[in-house]
Amino acid sequence: MTANARTGITSAAVCAAFAALALAFLSDWGQTRPARPALALVDTNFLDTATTRRSYADLVRAGADLSDFDCYVCHEKNKPPPLRLDTNQNIIVATEHSDIVMGHGRHGRNNNCFNCHNETNLTLLQPRDGRELTFADSTQLCGSCHGPTYRDWLAGAHGRISGYWDRGSSPFTAEEIRDLSGMVDRMRRQSDPVSAFVWQKLSIPQQALLRNYQPPASATNPAQGVVLDALNKIIGEPSIYEPGRFKGIPLAIATATLLEQSPKGDNLIYLNRLLLQDAYPLELSRSQRKDCVNCHNPHSPPFPSRPPAPGPHPLREIGPLAGPQTAQE
């Protein structure tokens, strides 16, 4: 074969090889990637940060129907409801209250309604020390027996909390104003002493701006800026609490506790913040620790997700019980 022919055959072979390679690359070497099944997105309800229960204070703030809490629609005033006990000295819950399952305390030791409820005034709760508390202050009742947990709760170490870890020094932000028109309305009408106090802090042009405010308005409404300015100026001042100013405004437990401590510095800012939030419960959103009843059912309090501890005493389990289980805590 001539050199020419050999060259021709070689180059044809090389061309064919290259062409084959090109085809192979273009068709991915005959391999197809298996299609991965698409991952399902998580249900957004799973990400809800709401607590499992709502407290009485939550219901008041939300303007919900509170007729269920009006005991004297059915009960007679000044006539304590009689308690009926079964042969084991357990409370028989009336059918009208059949949603209540009693389970507070081992050995049935706390299964008496009037350990917590005030029998002469059913709208109140009664801790053992003689105080009378409203339903909104139920955490004080729980804390009157569950001291270590209550102290943890006050420190922020027990239970759920949301909002700001930066207690004192974070100024009010726009997203904390839940109801701008309500707030402006209260301020310009000076409908209560706190609103009158806040109104006095505004300059004349600011007051004029609020007088002219008409809802609904866009999110960047200047009225919002004015309100935020006023609130943030106030929280930097000495304590805004005066009994006359806050008469008729129920203070949250955190507020009352902090007020007693006469705080200074960051804690004073935090106190003023809390006072303003108490004065405007519907207009400003709170960032606070949740109450006991936001997670625990007061009648059968075990945290719903934990299986109850077995045995007569959680620290002294020595084996399976011989007899029937007592009422579970």
């Binding site: 020419n4 990400l47 947990t149 027990h158 870890w165």
Partner: protein, 300 residues
Amino acid sequence: MGRRSFLRTSAVLTTGLAALAASLKPLLDMNDFPTMERFLQKYYKEMTPQDMARVLKRIEDEVEQQYGLRPHVRDLKPMDGVEYVYCLNLTRCIGCRKCVHACVAENNESRDPEIQYIRVLRLPDGSLGTDKADHFYASKSVPEKGFFYMPVQCQQCKNPPCVKVCPVHATWQEADGITVVDYDWCIGCRYCEAACPYWARRFNFTKPSIPKDRLNPDMAYLGNRPRRQGVMEKCHFCIQRSRAGRYPACLEVCPAGARKFGNILDPNSEVSYILKSKRVFIQLKEEMGTSPRFFYYFDV
């Protein structure tokens, strides 16, 4: 050269080039080329506020173009006198993994493949060894008897091995204790992932896919802005929230109140209270000398 040799040479060359071009076909799948602006971007610590403003605008433009939603990207600086610490109550954790998914939603992590900064371990009661841990438990309901649950995420170590090994200083620890990653500086070598004893670091093997309606538009430069293929990411204590004074998303969603977060330099914070009064016993893998800022404890 004669006609024949010319034709032969050109035939070989053409088919050769065709084969070469065909072999480079995977490059056609690349669609995430850096713009010149991003390519020439300065190192984070050398940027002036004007540089940063331009960069933030670039990011907002890019996100708007890709997701149809204009985000609000901020460069939040550490607060003075703040060092973050996370405490986790192992008596309370029920292993529901809500924290995992809240984190994914808050931090714009890729959904497919799904990147999750938090990994919840299920350990049998009485053991603290992570060798007995089940990372992939899938029980019908939690908590299960005989087990306890331990969520693990970036521990924001005081002595972080990931920072030590990064060849380009794309990751460093800030004054408030958070170890951050500059996603535009990371070269994706994954040394930090190898160095981390907790597997806190996640790598984007593919372009992250975030459904448009689930994008969180409240972003931070060192935090939850959308990442690219080929960069590392990890828990940053929700920097867009914590540096604005708020709790991280994992804490707010926890139904059991197992998570506690705050400023350890503040004696009145809940984390100070916990470290003083609780049986805080674990820093995970204490023997590695990383000195994590994540404390596990048991409660009554």
